[in-house]
Every structure is written in structure tokens, then in C-alpha cells.
């Protein structure tokens, strides 16, 4: 393959360039590199396996159709994830369209109007994330909690905290401002924290959320 040094694997860009010239093997290698993460990203956004499969397939079809349009200043991965995010969003809109509820990922309304959810159930968790992550009932809890979030908060949490896109990248992917990203991320984190802590927190360590915050007193 073009640009391939012996003993080193080709870069994403090298694979893309070879694919552009009609090399199936290069395109397939690119797909293999990104399909797990694309699937995971679309699964977390859509919360349904079949939809995630469809979105994943559409993503790579779109990549194939637009190989010539890829501008080499960007990173191949970022480009592919943007396509995947857009596919997932399109599917959410279609889903919402069927239920005649407007998908509001762009609008900022509600972010500043509804009060910030203040922590109520405050307790230490009984176990560490590493142990918890193994348990099936915890995996179900994670999925459940995520699906209970408003879509616009779920999107930001998945992209920022789970997939580790930067604030700037997340803002670009969703077409919102960085400030929107931060506010939505905060809301997502607080809701998830509340939900998970109620299930995973040790009641005996529970504390009341009282410490002069409500009065707005300056704490020195």
C-alpha cells in the first residue's frame, strides 16, 4: 500500500488515500479500525441495537461515497465520527418525527430556564467503578440512567465524557456553542450522579445537602 513502511502499520490518512484510488483492502482496513467505536457511539446515542447497526452501516456507506470530498487538513477519525454523529442525529429526528415531538438539540431553551438540579442523595458509593463495571445489573443501570436523560444532555455526555471529544470538538459536532456544551454537560452529570448514587450509594454514609448554599452566603 502506498506510503507503507515495512513493519509499521499505515496511518489513517494513508489508508484513506489508497481507498480513494480504489483499493478495497485499504477501505476495509479503515472500516475495521473505526467500526467498534462508531458502533459504540451510535449505540449510546440511540440506545437501540438495530438503530446503531443501521447508523453504523450508513456511516461507512457515507464515508465510501465521500472519500473524494475529504479535506486533508482534518483528521480522518474526526471526519468519520462527525458523519456517525450526524447519522445518529438524523435517526433521532426521524424517530421523534414519528412521535411528533420536536428534537431540540440546537435550541438552548430549557438550559437556562429550568433550575439546575441540585444534588439531593449524597452518599459514598459502596464499590469502585472498576468492580462495578463488571456487573451485569450495573451495566443495565448505566443504560437505563442514560436513556432517561433528555437527548440533548445525553448527546453531550456521550461525546464529552464517554467518547472524550473536547468541548470544542463536541460543539462542532453538535452545532452548538462551547458554552451550551458546558451547561448541558453539567446537567447530564448531575442527573446521572443523582440516579447512580441512589442505586449505588451507601445509605449509612448519607449526608444532607445543607451548608448555607441556599441562602447564597459567601463561604469564606
Amino acid at each position: 500500500m502506498e506510503g507503507m513502511e515495512s513493519g509499521t502499520s499505515p496511518s489513517d490518512l494513508e489508508l484513506l488515500r489508497s481507498a480513494r484510488e480504489g483499493q478495497w483492502v485499504a477501505f476495509e482496513a479503515l472500516v475495521a479500525r473505526f467500526e467498534p467505536r462508531v458502533f459504540r457511539l451510535t449505540w449510546r446515542i440511540l440506545q437501540q441495537r438495530q438503530d446503531a447497526e443501521d447508523a453504523t452501516q450508513q456511516t461507512f456507506i457515507s464515508v465510501m461515497e465521500h472519500l473524494d470530498q475529504f479535506r486533508e487538513e482534518a483528521a480522518v477519525g474526526t471526519w468519520i465520527f462527525r458523519i456517525a454523529t450526524n447519522q445518529a442525529l438524523a435517526m433521532l429526528r426521524k424517530r421523534r418525527g414519528r412521535n411528533t415531538v420536536r428534537l431540540d438539540t440546537q435550541a438552548n431553551q430549557g438550559d437556562d430556564e429550568t433550575p439546575m438540579p441540585h444534588p439531593e442523595f449524597i452518599a459514598q458509593w459502596r464499590d469502585d467503578p472498576a468492580e462495578l463495571a463488571e456487573r451485569r445489573e450495573v451495566k443495565e443501570l448505566l443504560g437505563q440512567a442514560l436513556s432517561e436523560l433528555d437527548e440533548k444532555y445525553r448527546m453531550v455526555f456521550v461525546l464529552r465524557d464517554v467518547e472524550e471529544f473536547s468541548t470544542k470538538e463536541t460543539a462542532e459536532l453538535l452545532g452548538i456553542t462551547e458554552s451550551n456544551v458546558k451547561v448541558r454537560l453539567l446537567r447530564a452529570r448531575l442527573r446521572l450522579r443523582e440516579r447512580l448514587t441512589r442505586a449505588l450509594g451507601d445509605e449509612s454514609t448519607r449526608l444532607a445537602p445543607d451548608h448555607g448554599h441556599e441562602t447564597g452566603n459567601r463561604v469564606t
Binding site: W24, E35, Q57, D128, L132, V138, L196, V219
Partner: protein, 80 residues
Amino acid sequence: MKCDELLKALSDYVDGDVDPSVCHEFEEHLAGCNPCQIVVDNVRKTIALYKAGEPYPLPEEFQRRLHASLRARWRQKFGK
């Protein structure tokens, strides 16, 4: 700091992404506030838990179908 300001500072603090004067004020508050310390810990653990979970491995059967359908499409497009 008022409650909403504290919550906002908390989120930025978890990211290590906060203006030094806000950070200092928040850390001072945190030093004397057990509930907030626990909330910060809870948020960190929440994020870690979602990152650690790998509940969505790519189904093998789907992967086979995906590659087969992409291959067919590729042949149509490039004729090889």
C-alpha cells in the same frame, strides 16, 4: 459562592478546566464542605464508570454483514 455557581465550578473543577480565582474559591469551599466533597467524588466515579463499561461489543454477525454489503457496494462503485 452561591449554589448554582458552586455546581458550575464543580463541573469545571472535575475537568481541571477552571479559572484560577474560581478554582481557589471553590477549593476553599470544598475544604470545609463534606457534602460537596462527596458530590465531586460521585461525579468522578460516574464518569469513570461509564468509561469503564464496555457493554456494546460489535456483534460479529453484524460485522460480517456490514463488510459484505460494503464490499458489494464497492464493486458497484469501483468495478473491482
